[in-house]
């Protein structure tokens, strides 16, 4: 591992890459603070820039800097405005905003910054320990297992989608997979499902799709419902950033626990920062004693530290399946995967042996990035928070413009913009009907890989017998089926019971 760290250090600590870390963190923090623009949209907008760099190490460093910068920036708007920029920081506003209202905005920001820093750093250490181990196991996998593993990943994403959402999430996953089959497949050069349209020959562009699925609906919602972008930041009132030693002692164990828990939640496909932060908050509230528990929701420092540590650790954790298996567990890592594929890097177990500098540079850049964010957030925050006062009449046209630019400069084709608007409208309608969109994008990006591995397994075993002949494949597929069926079965029983009660009444 020491050797790896050295490789990483030598690759990450170049003036250019350091600049990329700082640049990524600053951009991420700035945009993540704006209500309505989540990390997925920001990363999607930054992809053309990253691909333009040409160097996969620098690109991944930039994009992961943007990622945790966005999560970090989201906490600032949660605390100051009660308007979380990112779903992962909603739990931060429960206690952060009451603290700000009590005039402790500075203290709240400091605690958030320290908790995020600790969560991110502990997450990076765990990533360094677990990723190599996991990827050496993953090297034993064959295409049959890969296929099964991806099916597990996709069904886990659906299974974690929440009560009553499993079917919808699964539907979106399948839609994504279907969209992934449009264009010329890797299997043969036969164009599929293009219906003779030239523009579809190479399939849909994933940047366009990512923009249409996330950035555009969010912007539309900002337009439709102005309450979503609460205005009027009291940017001038942030004073007294210090915390006392007593407070540090109170939050230290919380941060430790939640960093660990958050990391492991982040590793699970489909879970991620949002679930980690809510769960972290709930757990800390339940184990707090007496008066401390009553404080939760009224400005408890524990209640602020818990989700902040957890969501940053979870972000780091979500890199584990991406870097070791090449399977993204969340929408954000799916976009990162798409960017890597565009840069000719295939994440997966071979990444560590084939391109160790990419892998280790990312991990080292996480440490540096967390440090940069700590430095950035503490003294500069009163100034950075000024961006929250940008009026929406300026903000929204620019968001829309960046969305279009992102998909245009990838293809240099204005048909792409029409596809963007079309899918954007569809995505907005889907959001209205409560359909989750991340599974669609993950399905779309994994589709090609899923089919490739499936095809290879089929060719090796001359048919479907790979499912029965390889116990591990069978086991994984059974697991995938259980993941989808169990929640629906439990719901069905709960419904029956509820109906029974109603009838007896």
């Amino acid at each position: 591992m020491l050797e790896g760290i050295l490789i990483g250090l030598s690759a990450a600590v170049t003036p250019f890459n350091l600049m990329m870390v700082v640049f990524g963190c600053v951009i991420g923090t700035l945009i993540g603070m704006l209500p309505g623009l989540g990390p997925m949209s920001i990363i999607a907008i930054m992809i053309p820039v990253a691909i333009g760099l040409g160097d996969p190490t620098a690109a991944l460093i930039l994009l992961s800097g943007v990622y945790y910068g966005a999560i970090f920036g989201g906490s600032t708007s949660s605390i100051l405005l009660n308007a979380p920029g990112v779903a992962g920081t909603v739990a931060t506003s429960f206690d952060g905003y009451p603290m700000a209202r009590k005039g402790q905005a500075g203290k709240a920001l400091t605690i958030a910054a320290i908790a995020s820093f600790a969560g991110g750093t502990i997450g990076a250490i765990l990533l360094m320990i677990f990723a190599p181990a996991l990827s050496s196991v993953a090297l034993l996998f064959h295409s049959a297992e890969y296929f099964a593993l991806m099916v597990v990943g996709l069904s886990a994403i659906a299974a974690f989608a929440g009560t009553g959402q499993v079917g919808k999430a699964l539907m979106m996953t399948i839609l994504g997979l279907m969209m992934g089959t449009v264009g010329e497949g890797a299997l043969s050069n036969m164009p599929r499902f293009t219906f003779g349209v030239m523009e579809l020959q190479s399939g849909f562009s994933f940047i366009t799709l990512a923009m249409a699925m996330f950035a555009l609906p969010e912007a539309m919602f900002l337009v439709m419902n102005p309450a979503r972008s609460t205005q009027g930041a009291d940017g001038g009132k942030i004073t007294n950033l210090r915390i006392t030693r007593q407070e540090a002692r109170t939050i230290a164990p919380v941060i430790g626990r939640q960093s660990l828990q958050g990391f492991f939640i982040g590793v699970l496909p489909g879970a991620g920062a949002t679930i980690a932060s809510f769960l972290g908050y709930a757990v800390e509230r339940n184990i707090a004693k007496g008066d401390e528990q009553k404080e939760f929701g009224k400005g408890s420092i524990k209640g602020l530290a818990a989700p902040e540590a957890a969501n940053n650790a979870a972000c780091t954790g979500s890199f584990v399946p991406l870097l070791t298996l090449g399977i993204p567990g969340s929408g954000t890592t799916a976009i990162l995967l798409g960017a890597l594929i565009a840069l000719n890097v295939t994440p997966g177990p071979r990444l560590m042996t084939d391109q160790p500098e990419v892998f280790w540079a990312v991990i080292i850049s996480m440490y540096i990035g967390n440090l940069v964010l700590l430095i950035l957030n503490l003294p500069l925050i009163p100034y950075i928070a000024k961006i929250l006062t940008v009026p929406r009449t300026y903000l929204i046209p620019f968001i829309l413009f960046f969305t279009m630019m992102g998909s245009y400069i990838g293809q240099n084709n204005s048909t792409e913009l029409l596809i963007l608007v079309g899918f954007g409208v569809v995505a907005t309608i889907l959001r209205f009907a409560d359909y989750p969109l991340a599974p669609l994008l993950i399905g779309f990006i994994l589709g090609t890989m899923l089919e490739d591995n499936f095809a290879r397994a089929m060719q090796l075993y001359r048919g479907f017998s790979f499912i029965t002949e390889r116990p591990m494949t069978l086991g994984l597929l059974v697991l995938a089926a259980l993941l989808v069926i169990l929640p629906s079965y439990r719901r069905l029983r709960a419904n029956k019971r509820a109906q029974g009660v109603a009838d007896g009444d």
């Binding site: 209500p35 333009g52 909603v90 429960f94 929440g162 009560t163 009553g164 079917g167 919808k168 699964l170 539907m171 399948i174 839609l175 997979l177 279907m178 089959t181 497949g185 299997l187 036969m190 499902f193 539309m220 337009v223 439709m224 419902n225 609460t230 809510f278 908050y281 509230r285 929701g297 009224k298 009449t393 300026y394 046209p397 620019f398 829309l400 413009f401 245009y408 400069i409 240099n412 204005s414 913009l417 029409l418 963007l420 608007v421 954007g424 409208v425 309608i429 889907l430 959001r431 209205f432 009907a433 409560d434 359909y435 089919e451 095809a455 089929m458 001359r462 719901r491 069905l492 419904n495």
Partner: protein, 176 residues
């Protein structure tokens, strides 16, 4: 029927079209040598179409759970906020009438116009026009500031994309 079931119905129909294309139109085009392969380009789509129809029907006819949105979940964790008014920031179809739908539609039209005019007008002119029009649609009336900001931003972005990223964006109208 609620919107989500309509979408499920459309999805099932889409799966039928997709499945029809996979089952009946693709295999004839396959050269004989590839037909001896255990997997055809249509194999995976066929599986997808079947799964899609099943899942779509489950969503279409499945029982509907009580609606639990993210904010309610959050409030469930936090009983102190439970008695507060419903969160304004949550998107809810029932309140569609209260939303500025026409502004959103107008912006979408502006985006389509931008897509169509980008080449004929050139990047600089089209972008400035889009930004100013977008601001105006949202109610900005201080045009002198808006235009100044739009011009500066467009110039900076064009320079960055052209010089730093090295991607050519035709800056001027087609006739120039």
């Amino acid at each position: 029927m609620a919107l989500d079931r309509w979408i499920a119905l459309i999805f099932v129909a889409l799966c039928f079209v997709y499945g029809y294309a996979a089952f009946f139109t693709m295999d004839q085009l396959l050269p004989p040598i590839l037909q001896r392969n255990p997997i055809w380009p249509s194999t995976f789509p066929k599986i997808l179409a079947i799964c899609g129809v099943i899942v779509g029907l489950v969503v279409l006819f499945g029982s509907k759970p009580p609606k639990v949105d993210a904010a309610a979940k959050a409030r469930g964790l936090d009983p102190l906020e439970a008695d507060e008014a419903p969160d304004d920031a949550v998107i809810d179809l029932k309140r569609l009438g209260d939303y500025n739908v026409w502004q959103a539609v107008a912006l979408l039209v502006a985006m389509v116009a931008y897509a169509l005019l980008l080449r004929p007008l050139g990047f600089l002119l089209a972008t400035v026009a889009f930004l100013v029009a977008g601001g105006a649609l949202l109610g900005e009336r201080k045009f002198h500031i808006m235009i100044l900001v739009a011009v500066i931003a467009t110039g900076v972005i064009w320079y960055l994309v052209q010089e730093v990223l090295g991607i050519f964006l035709s800056p001027l109208p087609r006739f120039m």
